[in-house]
Subunit: 350 residues, 2 copies
């Protein structure tokens, strides 16, 4: 049994509760959770905003950092005392082509999410996330938190970080690349830091100039205000790729015109129907792609942690106690503050 914070329905605040973690199996690792980031997905799930898919009670949290407290008999790569992380996934089929390639995030059977996923191995019908004192996870889904990363600031790398890193790598961003980042919140901020560390020239495109200074502080070379048509026109066909962290359906056309031939617009935030029409003639006329990307596999999640340690990249975080969760949710629901909230799990009453 472990203490946790759970939502019991779509409208009530999260409250303290107790959950039962499974016994440590032969390939399992038990982790005492020290920090857990709050992701906007947590809010959507707790409030049942994803097509009614939430089963209550739900314990959110998939940016988990902690210390190993026990390992199963067959565990070879983790030891008691290791500082480790658990991200968005805790299991997958392990057998499909995607899993064999280390792309568990694209598992053909559907990977098991860290919370609110059906869980054949658990003690509850659904997985329970990191707003809790401990977790038990198969070692294949545990990553190392490298020395030199602040544990609290490392937590958001497990979701926000990998979500940005994977498409940057997939689209082979490097020195000379011209990268656009549409939307500048917690995801956008990570995108800027990662792309800069890869050697790219980075342009942030925001709705208003309110966040322009923050974007430049994060390392953006240029800031475009989306509402300013003249600015956009001047940047016509100037970018190789745009990572779109805009969290809901939006008109892609002004952004697509910023792309060079063969450019890609990568939808990362708006995982819903994109209601405003895209013009097929523009896609054809400049051979542009509209595509997406979803978190990353386990090897790449380790890679982004190592990359951040090597390049001194940290998430901008605000550490809160468990009793600050509901206020943080309200703030996230009102708009992305540009940093990530991370819960100090030592504040959890045990």
């Amino acid at each position: 049994m472990t203490a946790a914070w759970a939502a019991s329905d779509a409208t009530s605040p999260l409250e303290p509760t107790t959950i039962e973690r499974r016994e440590v199996g032969p390939t399992d690792v038990a982790i005492d959770i020290t920090y857990c980031g709050i992701c906007h997905s947590d809010v959507h799930t707790a409030r049942n905003e994803w097509g009614g898919t939430t089963k209550y009670p739900v314990v959110p949290g998939h940016e988990i950092v902690g210390r190993v407290t026990a390992v199963g008999a067959d565990v070879t790569r983790r030891a008691v005392g290791d500082l480790v992380g658990v991200g968005c996934l805790v299991d997958s089929c392990g057998e499909c082509a995607e899993c064999r390639e280390g792309l568990q995030n694209y598992c053909r059977q559907g990977a098991t999410g860290t919370y609110n996923s059906p869980d054949p191995h658990g003690t509850m019908p659904r997985t329970a996330g990191g707003y809790s004192g401990s977790i038990v996870v198969t070692e294949d889904f545990v990553v190392s938190i490298p020395d030199g990363l602040d544990p609290a600031a490392a937590a958001p790398i497990l979701c926000a970080g990998i979500t940005m890193y994977s498409p940057l790598r997939h689209h082979q961003v490097g020195p000379g690349s011209k990268v656009g980042v549409a939307g500048f919140g917690g995801l956008g901020s990570m995108a800027v830091k990662l792309a800069k560390a890869m050697g790219a020239e980075v342009t942030v495109i925001t709705r208003t100039d309110r966040k322009a200074d923050d974007a430049r502080k994060a390392g953006a070379d240029h800031v475009l205000v989306a509402a300013d048509r003249e600015q956009l026109k001047a940047a016509n066909r100037s970018l190789d790729i745009i990572l779109s962290t805009i969290p809901s359906s939006h008109d892609l056309m002004p952004y697509l015109r910023l792309l060079k031939r063969d450019g890609a617009y990568v939808v990362l935030g708006a995982i819903e129907p994109l209601r405003e029409p895209v013009n097929g003639g523009l896609l054809a006329g400049n051979r542009i792609s509209v595509t997406g990307s979803m978190i990353g596999g386990l090897p790449e999640t380790q890679e982004v942690l190592d990359f951040c340690a090597e390049h001194g990249i940290a998430s901008d975080v605000q550490v809160i106690g468990v009793d600050g969760i509901n206020a943080a949710y309200d703030e996230l629901a009102a708009g992305d503050p540009g940093y990530r909230y991370v819960i100090d799990m030592s504040t959890l009453a045990k």
Copy 2:
């Protein structure tokens, strides 16, 4: 002066007329036109169906095959008597990155179309196409019709053929590739033949089973009827790429579900706003791209002609006289017959 057929407004049938071609300049080639294909774009332009962009009178035709009758003083690669072709483009800036790469179709200044394009070098304000006795074109925009290709059947390769060939090459289709072709008309038929010749396994997806036999005759390994949800479900995540020749806005979602991870849906026919929403979650969840492609550059246009000659690929054509143009237009407007009309220009009254 040369005889030609032109549309004088959006609603009248095309009629015989006379046009003036420019003098043969130092880098120009004069061509006696023997065959000219009829493309659906010709119909759209003649009937002013592309956003009111047509200037009248317009002489359509951009699938031109003919014999060289004169060359300018500086022409080195063409000689009188050569069997040559002219496709969709007759000029471009020649200086942008795209032109320097041989991708004149993506010229940043906008290439000069074979008809209805502003023409600084011409004797008329707009370029005039291949429904005419002759044409004068700079040699850089002239391709060779290889021996072994039937001249009439070669004409549609200059538009329909290159439109399909370029995305197949760009997406590196080869032995083992699983290629879908959505829509089976003149474009779809070329797509099947080209993809098969590249070694791919080809699936045609048609709205009804009316064209299933024709698709198999063209070489399709499989035919899926789009209206049959069970058939589509069984083919879930089975294709690497889908070339969409569907000529107007359509719901992409049933097709996108047929794609494997990292699959691409290439919009080739619907060069207009794609009104039905694409789900960003599907793009992200399987890293799918929606993209497009527009004809091809001059080197690749020569390449597809050579490829067709080498592999014995010809368009399915129906050769007509000039007096059959208007009936052919009506038939194309009613629906793609699955073959291309080609005008025998020897029937033109000179």
